[in-house]
Symmetry: C2
Subunit: 282 residues, 2 copies
């Protein structure tokens, strides 16, 4: 039986722990220190408690490791990865953004495009919706899909994985940027100037994707704007909440990743450039 490990007892990590635990898997959850975390489904009262083990003191090698800390915390956990993996372990990074895999020195590592939404408040996680991790298709990810097929987790192994990476990057580029910079939730799109800025960010993000040989339908920007328009006025984004709580921003692996590729391809992307310049100071 495969042993699973998860570093990061936040909304995503705890949800994955719950999903695997529910279907009878052997799961260990690691965090900064020994503690507990509570999990519940939105609109359900049942709470499930999970033990969190201090990663620094761990010596339990897992076959499949999910890294679910925020991008801004990745550097601080990397020195302890060898506490919990062996040479054939498979690592699944479940973070926002892209480009972080290169920081991990291990042969079997994959960055999931995460569609699991939830929220953590103190030591209590509420899961709102979705259980999907989108991964590149290969023997390791197909094996993960097979062993988790009875769980709530929906592992997708995709030929067109890069398109999915870029789709989520572009979605985040628009709404995360404008909500973080204006310090307002989705209601800020009611400003015509901000809506236009958001749209122009999508146009430029798509142009960078195209330089990377990722092609989208002509109406990509319109379809993403439609999605944004469906957001409740008071809906924040992860980067909005980070800004409001004066936490470090994940700029480097969302806007920064796209900005650096734009520079590499010598594209003109002034909307990305100006908003990235401001965000990168926080």
């Amino acid at each position: 039986m495969k042993k699973f490990g998860i570093i990061g007892p936040g909304a995503v990590g705890t949800a994955i722990a719950y999903a695997l635990n529910q279907s009878g898997h052997n799961v260990a959850l690691f965090g900064r220190s020994n503690s507990t975390v509570l999990f519940q489904e939105y609109n359900h009262s049942a709470q499930h408690e999970f033990t969190v083990h201090a990663l620094q003191d761990a010596h339990e090698q897992v076959d499949i490791l999910f890294i679910a800390v925020k991008t801004t915390q990745l550097d601080s956990i990397i020195p302890y990865l060898n506490n919990v993996i062996h040479s054939n372990s498979v690592i699944i990074l479940t973070q926002n953004g892209y480009g972080q895999l290169q920081k991990i020195n291990h042969p079997y590592k994959y960055h999931a495009v995460v569609y699991i939404s939830g929220q953590k408040d103190k030591n209590s996680v509420t899961h709102f919706r979705d259980w999907t991790l989108k991964l590149p298709i290969n023997n390791n990810t197909l094996n993960l899909q097979a062993v988790t097929q009875d769980s709530l987790l929906n592992i997708e192994c995709l030929e067109d994985y890069p398109e999915h990476v870029w789709y989520k990057l572009i979605v985040n580029l628009g709404i995360n940027t404008v909500t973080a910079l204006t310090r307002q939730p989705a209601v800020v799109l009611k400003s015509n100037e901000v809506k236009t800025l958001c749209y122009n960010l999508l146009v430029e993000g798509k142009r960078v994707a195209e330089a990377e040989n990722i092609h989208f339908d002509d109406d990509l920007e319109e379809s993403i704007m439609k999605i944004y328009e469906g957001y409740p006025d008071d809906m924040g984004t992860s980067m909005y909440y980070d800004m409001m709580n004066a936490r470090p921003l994940e700029t480097q692996y969302i806007q920064g990743y796209i900005y650096n590729l734009s520079q590499k391809h010598q594209l003109s992307t002034p909307y990305i450039e100006s908003t990235y310049a401001i965000l990168s100071t926080f």
Copy 2:
């Protein structure tokens, strides 16, 4: 003997009151309510007290009126202007930005480009440097220059007044925008991305000026960047302090004025557009 009035007992208004009072002029200072304000020169201990009269209750008509409230407060004082002017009064607006004169329904009105720097803390104004007001040249401004020639005030009546308006607009466009949006004083120019953004704002600002038939030397942007580089790291801008203190921003008459002209001339100014979109939400 001419009667002078000043609305707005802030750093600029109180300094003008002091300058006129020193040279023996008849000066009345108006504010929201009856109060007093103290004036002193930087590095001097002598304090000068001025009485502030409530504008709402005023019935003292002056020959020359300086309006020295912030742009965001202009609308609230306009209904009371007739308390303090007569049909031949000359109005001098000493505010940041440009475009506000049209709000004032009076024939003799001029917008000064202000170079008077100071700071107000509670009811105490400290004057740092400069006493210059740059105005268009005409009989009224030449008359003002003549009657104030013995005072500290330096009234300049200029043929190339529009160039001076635009020069200050462009200077403010760069540094005010980046310090307000990043919520950092001048030290933020040490970020290469922010420095580049600031430079690009100047380039676009100059392009808008050119569409308005205002022509600058080729090295305008470089020379303004040099000025910025001379700023102390901890130096804020008026818009930076407004942002940090959650006060209304003067965006509409600085960035907004330039942005609207860019739109009118159908120019492509994405750096102005994106930063204006964000600033205009505050």
